[in-house]
Symmetry: C2
Subunit: 255 residues, 2 copies
């Protein structure tokens, strides 16, 4: 049952945002967590089975499971290490009436296979913290710091967990920064997720990529495909048609 949005408690600083997809909404907070373009693009890019079990690691406020629910009848689980965020995600799931299809776990991805078992998921998605722990530029806000920096998990922890949790032939999709691509591909191979499909996102046609979407398949044969580049802004400085279609499901408009 979808609850009236007024039935869902909101804490200080929280707001409800429209996901602009099938009347879905999400609880966000500038202080605690707001989803990024990266999460939306991953939710559109990832291959998901029509049914079965899907897992989203580092789920944050649950934006990826909620968006994925429009593309699959699978059960979707989200794992989030921060209790404050996991509860926020749970409230968003309930607000959208998705509690029979999306389950949020407040857990550490590093040992989640001990709870969930090995190789139980048809697909795993993850939008992990991007920033290495350099000590200098850690965000002051604790919630954001954990979401953005490799405080509780490194890229290797994330890929290792994906390798344990996905079933043979199952798909693992990740969004990350292109400067880590060599790390991502070598770690995927190390944990038996063969990289199969990569898409780069460029802010403009003449600029370097600032985002990469990668999909691998557990124990697949090597053979990578590089998808057409996704260009965010067109020459007029507005969102391009393809970006608009992917992001909002509608043709080009104002940036």
């Amino acid at each position: 049952m979808e609850k009236s949005r007024s039935d869902i408690p909101l804490y200080e600083g929280e707001r409800i945002d429209d996901l602009l997809t099938q009347n879905l909404h999400i609880i966000q907070s500038r202080e605690v967590f707001s989803f990024s373009m990266d999460a939306v693009l991953l939710a559109r890019f990832a291959s998901v089975p029509a049914r079965g079990k899907v897992l989203d690691l580092c789920t944050g406020n649950g934006v990826i499971p909620i968006l994925l629910s429009t593309r699959t009848k699978a059960t979707i689980e989200g794992v989030e290490i921060q209790e404050r965020l996991a509860k926020m995600a749970e409230r968003s799931v309930e607000m959208n009436g998705l509690q029979d299809r999306i389950i949020i776990h407040n857990a550490d991805l590093k040992n989640y296979h001990e709870v969930a078992g090995h190789g139980m998921y048809d697909a795993v998605t993850v939008n992990p913290p991007y920033a290495a722990l350099t000590g200098s530029d850690i965000k002051a806000n604790q919630y954001e710091a954990i979401a953005r920096h490799e405080i509780h998990c490194t890229l290797e922890d994330v890929v290792k967990a994906c390798g344990k949790l996905v079933k043979q032939g199952g798909k693992v999709s990740m969004v990350h920064r292109p400067h880590r691509l060599a790390d991502i591909l070598t770690l995927m191979r190390q944990y038996r997720i063969e990289p199969k499909r990569v898409r780069f996102v460029h802010p403009r046609a003449g600029m370097e990529a600032n985002m990469v979407l990668v999909e691998g398949i557990r124990d697949a044969k090597p053979e990578m495909r590089i998808m057409p580049p996704l260009i965010v802004y067109n020459d007029q400085g507005k969102y391009g048609d393809e970006f608009m279609e992917i992001y909002y499901g509608k043709p080009g408009g104002e940036a």
Copy 2:
């Protein structure tokens, strides 16, 4: 001294083609070897030092050393395992009067470090055979088969040789097919060439990449950049402006 082109012996089936760059020409043969777009794009993409020593492996008819001679005062060596091709390259070098700057060796890259020494080159370029040895689709023509298929060297042989021949901090640039990207990046790391700069070539804006240019630096710190995509044909089916500028050094025109 540049020889008059009529002084250079041509064998049956050979022709002289204009490289459309600084009046350079090259000997080609449909039966034996003709360079591809890939070689030209690599010669434009590769970082070369102003002076020093540059090495081109799998040099074929010498197209990459000849094109690179317009971008550097370095001594350029080309290594080619097929004697017939090495001699063809030598004649092209002589025809362009470049014999004091380009030296062609008829040698096997797998043991070329025994001749040249370890870590002696500031930059190494290579356009290796792309096709794995599947046994089914090997080209009937012996010369072309060796140039296109991994008969005398595998991708690992190539990357290993690059790692031995390039100096610390020196650059290795390669052109290959995107479906081998995970292999290329993991092998580069294995042989201590850190992948730093990658550019994908797409036939058209909405199509998957069919070529990849990769540059790594020996013993560098990890951090990759994905350059803007290079799109060959524009929406009108003609060569795009940027492609024309890179390929021919002039603005867009007929395909």
